[in-house]
């Protein structure tokens, strides 16, 4: 019995495995007493917790929340502008709206936060990758077509950072190309957007993610990940050194 087996059994019980992996875990569970004991304990706990009544928000809390929202200023919503601009008309309408928003640059202070937010939301929604490929010949043209940007795309698998794909995202209301890398269990997002001469923040942390910025060619870059400091620095050095 190993920790690895136990974690695998747990993943199986939590419904995280499917197909051959699930069948393999089921086979192991048939023969491993320790995993069986774990499964029994976990099932009892799960039953008890699921029978337990949930805490529900008291009515006065709901009222207090609504009252505080009432006091919030009614803001011009950039987001709803985007939804309006994007719906039905597609990418060309977005591009047209983009020129207008370029007049409203995000402040340096919020950029670290924004990039970390976008990364966190992609992880939470499970939508980090729109084009899945470790081949830069696939990812690069996809980004060119969908983000209108051609950042260098390099697979750093030999150095421990495997290119897993790319997506188009929005940083502070502007489209950005994102190259997605895997480093063990960690994900790294490498953002690129057109340099408009704005200053970039220094390396920092937001929501527990490390964020680094730099300029190269006519693009601004940002790397975001929850990797440790040493691995993050290594990745940033590699990304900075890449050429077209």
């Amino acid at each position: 019995m190993s920790t690895e087996h136990l974690l695998n059994t747990q993943s199986y019980l939590d419904g995280e495995l499917s197909g051959a992996e699930a069948a393999e875990a089921e086979r192991h569970l048939q023969t491993c007493e320790e995993c069986q004991a774990f499964a029994t304990g976990a099932a009892e706990l799960s039953d008890a917790l699921r029978r337990a009544p949930r805490y529900t928000a008291p009515a006065q809390l709901r009222a207090a929340v609504l009252a505080r929202l009432d006091k919030e200023p009614v803001a011009f919503s950039r987001r709803s502008f985007w939804i309006g601009a994007g719906s039905g008309a597609g990418l060309s309408a977005l591009a047209a709206g983009f020129a207008f928003l370029a007049l409203l640059p995000p402040s340096i202070a919020t950029l670290t936060q924004s990039v970390a937010d976008v990364h966190a939301q992609a992880l939470v929604s499970g939508k980090t990758i729109m084009v899945a490929s470790s081949n830069h010949h696939t990812v690069k043209p996809w980004l060119a077509a969908h983000a209108g940007l051609s950042p260098p795309v390099t697979d750093f698998a030999a150095e421990g950072f495997k290119l897993t794909g790319g997506r188009v995202d929005e940083v502070a209301g502007r489209p950005a190309a994102v190259m997605v890398y895997a480093h063990g269990n960690h994900e790294v997002d490498l953002f690129a957007w057109p340099d408009r001469g704005a200053d970039l923040p220094g390396t920092g942390m937001a929501h527990g993610f490390r964020v680094a910025f730099w300029k190269a060619g006519d693009l601004d870059f940002a790397a975001v990940s929850d990797m440790d400091q040493a691995a993050f620095q290594k990745f940033v050095a590699l990304a900075k050194a890449q050429r077209e």
């Binding site: 920790t3 136990l6 974690l7 747990q10 993943s11 939590d14 995280e16 774990f38 304990g41 976990a42 706990l45 799960s46 008890a48 917790l49 699921r50 029978r51 337990a52 009544p53 949930r54 805490y55 529900t56 928000a57 008291p58 809390l61 709901r62 207090a64 929340v65 505080r68 929202l69 919030e72 009614v74 803001a75 919503s77 950039r78 987001r79 709803s80 924004s114 937010d117 976008v118 966190a120 939301q121 992880l123 939470v124 929604s125 499970g126 939508k127 929005e170 063990g184 269990n185 960690h186 929501h207 527990g208 993610f209 929850d226």
Partner: protein, 169 residues
């Protein structure tokens, strides 16, 4: 009502109970949970322009957790005594409800003994029914860490339950 407020009420507000439930389990105090949720809903509303669709519940719970962390250190030092008030009403049979309530109190006390890191992954998995990936997103740790914390939380609860049987309590 402006459009943003309308969308917030349609997408985020339905998860107020989930937000409160998580805040209660994490903070173990009705007063703290109240403060955390008010703070979280306000922060969520202000950040709502940045929410790009997807899972509004996971997004909101991430904010609740962050509010708990930033409010947390003070109340954690203070300690907690208000463990059991405010659970939704138990079933109709008074006798069965009493037994159920006794079990529930013991279970709550055991969960309260878990270290914060372990308790939050357990609550998100078992009470909020989130996947490992969603939990990783909310807590900001890698999936491997979610898995090992979850296993540790379950093993600890088993130990607590065995202790409680031995003590005959």
């Amino acid at each position: 009502m402006d459009d943003r407020r309308r969308r917030f009420e349609a997408q985020a507000l339905p998860h107020l109970d989930a937000a409160y439930n998580l805040a209660r389990w994490l903070s173990r105090s009705p007063t703290d949970a109240d403060d955390i949720v008010q703070d979280a809903m306000l922060r969520a509303f202000r950040a709502f322009d940045g929410f790009r669709g997807g899972d509004a519940k996971a997004w909101l719970l991430t904010i609740v957790r962050n509010c708990w962390l930033s409010a947390g250190s003070a109340s954690r030092r203070r300690g907690h005594t208000e463990l059991d008030e405010g659970l939704a009403d138990a079933g109709p049979d008074p006798e069965e409800s009493a037994i159920q309530a006794g079990h529930q109190r013991r279970l709550n006390a055991m969960i309260a003994r878990l270290p914060d890191d372990f308790r939050e992954v357990l609550i998100l998995r078992e009470i909020e029914d989130m996947s490992y990936r969603e939990i990783a997103g909310v807590t900001g740790v890698p999936m491997g860490t979610v898995m090992s914390r979850l296993a540790r939380a379950r093993a600890l609860l088993r130990e607590f339950a065995q202790e409680s049987v031995k003590e005959g309590s």
